[in-house]
Amino acid sequence: MSPKMKEIKLFLIGFIIILCFSIFSKEYLLPVDILGNLPLFNEKYNSSPKNSLLADPVFQFEPWRHLAKEKILKGEFPLWNENNGRGAPFFANPQTAILYPLNYIYYFSPEKFALTFIPLLKMLLFILFSYLYFKSLILNKAIPFISSFIVATSGFFILWLLWPHTNVFLLLPLILYLTEKISQAGSSYRWHIALSFIYFIAVLGGHPETLAEILILHLFYLMFKFKKEKKRYIQFFSSISLGFLLGAIQLIPFFEYLLNSFTLDQRGAQMSDFYLPKISFIMNFFPFILGAPHKEFYKPISEFTNFQETAGGYVGLITILTAIFGSVKWTKDSRIKFWSFVVLFSWLVSYQIWPVNLLLNLPLFSILASHRMIGVAGFGLVVLFALSADKLLSQRIPKKLIKNLNFILIAVFVLTIAINLALLIIPLNLPEKVNRFLPFLQTYGSIVSISTVIFLILFIHFQSKLTRVKVLILLILILFQTFFLFYGYNPSVSDNSYYPSTKIIDRLQSIDKGTILNVGNPIMPANINLIYNLKNIQNNDAIEILNYRKEFDDTFNKKNIWKEIDEVKYESAQKFGISYILSDYNINLKKEKIQPDKEIITSLSDPKNPLKNSFKFKESYLYGIRFLTANYNRKNNCEINVQIYNQTTQKNLGEDVILCSEVKDLMFYTVDFSGIKLENNNKYLISIYPKNVSEDNFVGLWSDQDRKPYFEILYKDDLTQKDRFELISFDSNIYLWKVSNSANIKTLGNIQKQSSSSTSISFEVDMPQTDTVEIKIPYYPGWTALVDNKKVEITNSNPFMLIKVPKGYHYVELRYQPLSFILGLLITSLALISIAIYVVKKEFKSGQCNRLVKYCQNINSKYSWIYHLKVLFSGFLASVISLLLIIKVIDFRFVTPHTTSINWLTVYSYPKQQDYFYFFFCLIYLYVATLLFWIIWIWKKNE
């Protein structure tokens, strides 16, 4: 078997393994248990999340994929998300990665399978592409194999596996491999076309920032590779440009969205603040020094730089040490020089070190999250490792040096063992927390040091005699520092944990569909609603329509620590057409912060030591007290008693209980009191003490440095005042309110027969006079309005769309038909056609068809026309039978599309698209299958 066939076989085995694993997996490879941090899902998760950092895949990417799948299966192209932010561009948001090839698996297969299969396939592809690239660089067969596993099982790739970043990042080695191929094969157009397509896929991947980083690296690489062949730059420039032209379908709508976005407005207005703190550099070497988010212990290195960001450059200690050794030892090797430069540059960018930080403050660079260049640094380190290891294997190491190295390594090994033993024996008077963390750190340190030592010893001894077993041993040792350490970082969950339904969600699904506003705690954060087919007033898609977001922030300007709306006025809710509100407190009441500081967590573990805080208040009726709770990442079943005491009259006014099981970290909790009258100038005391607590069963409250808890009081001035929001459900400290008279359309007229689809809204309106009608969809390019089939101008009511409708009874329809998408589609199609023509023409020109021509002429002289006819007829019959079987087996289902037309099709609810599908599918199938039958028959016969 040729080496190429072996590699293909190996890849196929890998593919079959992950396919089988995904098919038979009983769990969803998605950390949905993170929802357990939200009060809404309190009852559904019995334990704390396995990894609290992986929020975006659960809060954004999966709901988006879910929506895309729903629309695609309905036969709609998912251009617009009508369920968030009163409507927002959906396809134009690149992170939805709707056209990314791997996502098609999700659309057309069960979620559980796809959610496991896609990330694993991403890893496998990354291994393959990295292997191809490393192989193109070095001679040794084993090194590329080991290196490709390192790069795919560590740092950036594992940490961002569930993000679209890795959709793009996995193409980096392939781009470099193609560049190498082009440099070897001269100016072969096939490799250039392949490069264009890879850039096209990278555009569809869903992360422009990662693409920008890859592009920058690729440009550096080209400069390094072809510094003496400047003519080649034009060829590469053309193929990269062609890739972007192919991606026009995604890029043009994205740029349109970006230019109208809140994000650009925000990022453009400030200096770049995307960088890693310098202290976090240590994480490149020892990422678990402060614990691991998927293990029991974890602490971020600073408040806003979590593990995801800081450990992205980690590729294993062995790799780093070898890479550093190589870059110091072989300074004259141009490839090592280049990759050392890349690593250094990426570090300078990620940590914003002078002078690179000056560059990053330039307009275009300032809006990029450039600190993710740390991933490129990691990749660069693996390349350096591969190059250095290759060189090490090709050089004979003097025996004396081996002896010395052996001695040092064994010494380190013994030292490690000794330290571990000492830590076990010698009692250290460390704080309890540190004491509990120590075994973790010990294990981690031991694994890293021992595997490093053994690897280096074996590597030196195996030198140039690498058999398959030896390679496997080395690989396993390296995997101890990457794969095994990160194992479980992306956890999976069981069937019933996949976006479970709750009482409140059931209630929301059972009532009229309306837009929901979240007040107080992040009860149902934006985008999760997509899973449950609900609407949320906010659209947390990292871009957001500028005027909508600005107006929203201006209207709902009181925000809390979660950046969620903390107070809502009835008028504001009506302005935005909000139908329902989810809150953690009674929003009909007034709210006042009494102690606003939340600096430390004060534990409520001692019943004898209650937390106390006093306050004075003018005459009014107290209905509740709102705290900011804390827990310690675990389930508790204790209770907290809250008492109110009038210090002036020395009367106990009331008490209530907080259930620890409902306490979430950094979540507000409201204790209800039913209308306690507060007297003017009287002094009141709040006393909080725990019940049923034990060592591992207590919670806390966020408080100021003096242990005075953060708290707000909820009161009512006037008892006769009517409630403006109607309570329709209450469960586990979550209130569900209905906003009366809320409407999606604001007009003087009478609205009837309102209907909407994802890209249109229509209604009949009886106008008493000519006036404007406000449709509560954000003003955004691509929308057109028709009144009685006549186009009318849409104006911006800031933030919604406004049209003028004359007096009388009219039919109004608004449609989203973005020119940007059509233009993008046109450019992509033209680019594809041009490539197809170019390729076919080139192939014709190159005389590839000559062999085929000769073969066919040979066939022609052998058989009579009646023979061909017989074969064709048999082929046709076989095709018809197989077609009937396909139609029978695959249960194609079609639903009647949304339309206002009344015709035979709609009267009889006939899904017309099935006619088009069957006509073209059957015609093409019969034709191609018959022809294939004939080709195969004749070919076999001729053999």
Binding site: S762, E764, L786, D788, N789, K790, G808, Y809, H810, Y811, E813, I837, V840, K841, F844, K845, V853, C856, Q857, I859, N860, S864, W865, I866, H868, L869, L872, F876, L884, T896, P897, T899, T900, S901, I902, N903, W904, L905, T906, V907, Y910, K912, Q913, D915, Y916, Y918, F919, L923, L926, Y927, T930, L931, W934
Partner: protein
Amino acid sequence: MEKKRIKTFIIESIIIVVLGLFIGTTTGGSPLFGDLNFIDEGQFASWTNQMLLGKQMYKDIYITYGPLFIQPLYILFKIVGPSAFLVRLYLTLGSIIGIIIGLYIVYILNISKIFRWYIIVLALLLPIVQIRQALGLLVLIFAAKSIKEKSLHSDFLSGLLVIVSFLVSPEIGIFSGFIVFLCYLYRFIIEINIHKIILKFSAFIVGILVPSIVFSLWSSIGGWLGDYISVTKDVLFLFSGINIPNGQNFPNILSLAPNNIDILSWVRFVFSKEILIYWAIIFYLSFFLYIVLKLILIKKKEENEPLIMLIGLFGLALLSILIGRSGIGHFYFTLLPLFIVLIYLMQKGLFLLKNIKGINPEKILLVLIMFVIVIFSLRLLLINRPNIFKIIDLPSAILSSKNNPSFTGPITISKDQKNYISSIQSFINLNSDKSDYVFFLTDEPMMYLLINRKNPTRYDLPYIANNKNKRFELLQDLIVKKPKYIIENEKDWAVDGIDNRTRLPEISKYINETYHFCNKINSAIIYCLKK
């Protein structure tokens, strides 16, 4: 062509003209005989007459065809005066020209006399040829010519004709243009001399640009360019998909097939109207398999192969119309290219047959294939012209056409139709003047010409206004222009069996609320505006 062939071509063309004018070619029958077709002929009659009454194409009238199909009739109306006879004559002449273009193709393909006459008879007896498809075929003739010739004339002309064809019928223009474009693409790929192809393609583009510029100037001076674009775009989308006004399901072969083994039911099934579409599909599949095999096996290339391939592709494109509108009328509309392809194959078969001596399976198979084609044609003839021999009544009928209602012209129509038209004409003439609007709720656009009154809406065929936007547009026009009478024919044929009261509920409601019954003439109910 040789001189002798030119002579026979001219003689055969004259015969076609004579037969066409007397026997007729369209669904209406002879230009002189047969009831007026209130929809197919009516729409042309109405559009042009509304233009005479001061309305503007596309802006005030929703026209589903191109302006070049309407404008000549409008000029004829202006010169001769409007009449239904003129409409029929105009359409018949269009079909006759179409048949002659078909005949010309047959000559180019060197089809033998017997097959030539076979197709002429079919084209005269079946309503398969209209000027629309023939123009598409004309485009292909020049496209095929351009492959053979070095000069750029054919390229220029095919470009020019693509636009002309588009301005007559957008669908046909798109199909023919697309096929020519594919042809250039193919040549661009296989030709070594790219400059030549680029030059030829440029001539084709110039051919497209010249009439486009002239048309743009004409329509923008007339102030209807924008409306033309928006209506044409709307029509193209309207007639494909769920919003189609006049379309049912594509016949499902699996549900139509008998669920027993009774031979008679199976014979009926195979020869049923619905299944004939599948015959056409199989014919096309066979033809393209033949062509591809020929290409693959590098058989000796024939001179006229490109033309027949282009015609086959054009026929297949036409066939796709049937996904939306699978009725037999539209099926006929797609048949001209198929018949050209079939007689081409039959000629090939006959040639092979001559070379096979004795009786053997090959010979039997060939005869069988040709027999199937003939049976297909006969079945089509049986569907369309069962009363062909009524033509002998023509002379006596012509004499009785003297007392026809006004605007009818010298066409012999049935007594019933004559009564219907006359009674409505006299009611309208007596009770309204020319400035009054009259609206027909049922699909009888011919009546707008016959009563010579303005339609208050853009829709002469109300069923086309089937989506809510159009329904409300129509409603607004009725509200604003307040037609004096709204007429509804109780016996009118409902498109796809769904009457306009069902299709246009808002209009129906408006009529019920704002109008009241005031007269019934024959089957026509006349509603008057409530005071």
